[in-house]
Assembly symmetry: C2
Homo-oligomer: 521 residues x 2
């Protein structure tokens, strides 16, 4: 995410005890060898792949400028390996290869050499490789997210060419898709959406819940919550959630604020990015963890840190009960730079006060519970007073009184409006020009529809938005999807987009919830 | 060397006994850690390097587009290693580096990205590196030839930069320059030429005598002979020569011809390049090996293979005693494509008949010795008849009766002309437009001068030609040097030229010979 959210002069307070607990829960990963479903040649300017002739593959081999595409059938986080042999005269120079890993077919044709967006080009999944000696078994050390491995021969020599044998990848995950609790549906599109959701989540479940196996490959708190909720209904991996809870609780800043993301390597450490909505989501994350695991000890130990996030948020609430001073804190809500986030942030705070109330009940702290109840009522009342526009019959946000779907969605999730009234509210912003741009925000929209009793509309939106990605070639769900502009990127170029991103995995949870699949781990 | 010299349908006859002997002689290499003598920054468009500020190196660090040059003071075959640390916010993306290794300063500024010459671009000494985690100890696996390591930061992220610590190289060679027999001279330029020659040879002495540590890094027969002769007077490493003798003798084609070059890895195997002059040089190579080692057993064992090269050459000699049918065989002589090689090749054959005669004496085969003597006299007489142009008073070559220094040099080395007559012959071609283009050919020219009693001219040529390279910045001698055009390359671009090349190391031998330094190993 953006450098703008960096909090300068941040000190890390590391709770060694929590980090030890987190490290004891590093999962054993599943490794699975997979061979390509096809090997294709690129024959020049046209976007055309052809099956290589037997001669080409075994005798002529590949020389300068040749490009070969190995298709593994599905996008997966994986390591890549192959044997490089030479054909022709004895190898009298290194073989020089460029290897690019693509999640989508369209990436095979993209030239990313002049990518200059604001996200590091180091994330482009490509390598340059010199092979001094053949035959050589090449085990590429880095992990990539890919369906296609594209080898371009940059040079051999006039005397020898190369061939590639034993091409395979080692797919890696903390879970196996075949172990996911099945979704009982006969609807072929929902079945497909579910499969892709489950695959997306599996790819992001590594030694932590990563946001994306291509990029950024680390643990973000807001994303973790959606992954955890989807995981409870699918893979039911309780320990990986617990590990992530302890990582976040173990890495706070000097004010006790939980960071928006943490890094695992070389030692667990926090990023200096802090997002108030993400920090607050530690509260529902913990409550939901209890609801699905009954692990009271963990919840009791971490509850004070969760409740402390509330205190940090409350300092930005003014005497009228409205959260102010954006800029002193940052929040995410959605990737739309035009979005005014004040109303949504107020709603998130109310939403998390309700979670906090439940947490206090759990840990048997009635005094604190009463505080949460009071605060929630105050902030709800203040929100209705300040943000409700009775003429337009919508919630507005900020000084410019901006109307957005995000504000309505979050106010519904916060309980400010319910039932038919909520359904009508969502209808009222269906043509709003302030678009929802991430699957993350679209998820909360679907949740709001369900909460408003709009099950058919929720399914229609799942089929339209997530089904749209499938129609566009997704076998894992994307970081970003704008049905109007599939090339959209907040980073300056689609080259750097991630096409398997955890925050878009939630249909597997929402669909199981709609189909009454049990939640217990 | 060129694909044109490839002999198709070549079978390798491997003498396992010889290869075993060769492999038993793989030397233990010397590894020496070296730190840069300076670290410099490149500040943009100008060819200007500056010392980085303390802040830059330790706090600001290096980001996108920054370029840092580590100067190790001398060109050497070496491995490169460093520690990459990040500064600023926690590392939130891989660091992406381009690392280029330069033998000469001018290479720092060369853009080789569009190199498209006929020699493989895989030889360009550059790598692209992603560093996922910092601090990271980077031990680059491949060996390079370099004085300068140039790191360009292709990207970090907006949140962190990188710094480089513990930058060092591990220089590698079968010998140590400080162990070379010293040259007793007070002439500062000759002293410098000698030092550079010795360093050049040391760099090329690895597990075989390589032609160049940048390129092609393998054992060529003609080059080996000059290296062996220089080695006897400097490092006196008898075993490495012996290893190479057995590698060549152990890898012949179906006709018993010794290949022009062999490869060590993964198993010793021969190239399908065959050069008649190189094959014949196995004879003097063996004789000289005996003269400097008195290792009779090796010479006796390998003599039949040496003498067999003569038989192979004699099949191209016509009834008039002239070597013909170039095209059926190939020979090297020099890198000048305009050079007619017939006369030189005739002279090489005569020269090697003399070596063969000595070899027969050594192994006490008077019958075969007599055959060599007869043949030598016949071929000498034929050469004088056919190639001597009495009007121009020079040797000419081919149907076009081309005049070249190479023809005169080789005829003098073959003993066709001697003393004052030879000296005048060399004078006569001093302005010849058919230039000598390689240090290899220039070496034989100096040898011819010495043989003609022109010691002063020989020294003048050493100082002019090899001293010219030093003036142009050489601290090891180059593969190619044209004083008129330092950018000359037979490969389409100087990018691919090798600036440490064994065949230019011979001043260390010639100077010791002139100074009467003992030869015995």
């Amino acid at each position: 995410m953006s450098v703008n959210w960096t909090m300068k002069q941040t000190k890390m307070l590391k709770n060694e005890n929590y980090i030890r607990k987190a490290q004891a829960l590093i999962p054993n990963l599943y490794y699975r060898k997979e061979t390509p479903v096809s090997c294709l040649e690129y024959d020049g300017a046209e976007k055309n792949l052809t099956v290589p002739g037997q001669n080409k593959e075994k005798q002529e081999g590949y020389g300068k400028g040749d490009r070969i595409v190995f298709d593994f059938g599905e996008n997966h986080a994986a390591y890549f390996q192959f044997t490089c042999r030479s054909v022709g005269s004895p190898q009298d120079a290194p073989a020089f290869l460029h290897i690019k890993f693509c999640e989508l077919e369209k990436e095979i044709w993209e030239d990313c050499s002049d990518y200059n967006g604001w996200i590091s080009k180091a994330w482009l999944q490509e390598e340059w490789l010199h092979i001094d000696e053949t035959p050589s078994q090449i085990n590429m050390a880095r992990r990539y997210a890919f369906r296609y491995a594209v080898i371009t021969v940059l040079d051999t020599s006039r005397k020898f060419h190369v061939i590639f044998e034993d091409v395979e990848r080692t797919a890696v995950s903390a879970v196996r898709t075949e172990d996911a609790v099945p979704l009982p549906t006969d609807d072929p599109l929902l079945k497909q959406i579910d499969e892709v959701s489950v695959r997306t989540l599996a790819n992001c479940m590594q030694t932590v819940f990563e946001d994306g196996p291509k990029r950024d490959r680390r643990l973000w708190l807001g994303d973790l919550r959606l992954q955890a909720l989807t995981n409870y209904r699918t893979f039911q991996n309780r320990d990986l959630v617990k590990r992530c809870l302890y990582l976040f609780a173990g890495l706070q800043n000097q004010d006790g604020m939980i960071p928006a993301c943490v890094f695992e390597r070389p030692e667990p450490h926090m990023d200096d990015t802090f997002l108030l909505d993400y920090a607050l989501f530690f509260i529902p994350l913990l409550v939901e963890y209890y609801e699905h695991t009954s692990d009271f000890d963990t919840v009791a130990e971490l509850a004070p840190h969760a409740l402390h996030q509330l205190e940090l948020a409350m300092q930005y609430v003014n005497s009228e009960g409205i959260i102010c001073a954006e800029g002193e804190y940052h929040c995410f809500i959605d990737w739309n730079e035009k979005l005014d986030k004040q109303c949504s942030m107020q709603a998130v705070l109310i939403y998390c006060l309700e979670s906090a109330r439940k947490l206090c009940l759990l840990i048997r702290d009635p005094k604190q519970e009463a505080v949460c109840t009071d605060r929630k009522e105050q902030l709800l009342a203040a929100a209705r007073r300040t943000f409700w526009d009775s003429r337009q019959q919508v919630f507005v946000s900020g000084q410019a009184r901006q109307v957005s779907p995000a504000s309505q969605v979050w106010m519904i999730l916060a309980g400010a409006v319910q039932g038919q009234e909520a359904a009508e509210l969502l209808d009222r912003v269906s043509d709003c020009p302030i678009l929802m741009v991430t699957p993350y925000m679209h998820h909360f929209y679907v949740q709001a529809l369900l909460l408003s009793g709009e099950r058919q509309k929720a399914i229609r939106h799942l089929k339209g938005y997530w089904g749209g990605m499938i129609q566009a070639g997704a076998d894992t769900f994307w970081e970003l999807y704008n049905p109007e502009n599939p090339e959209e990127s907040p980073y300056g170029s689609a080259c750097i987009n991630s096409y398997c991103h955890a925050w878009s995995c939630t249909p597997a949870w929402l669909l199981r919830e709609m189909h009454g699949v049990s939640n217990s781990v």
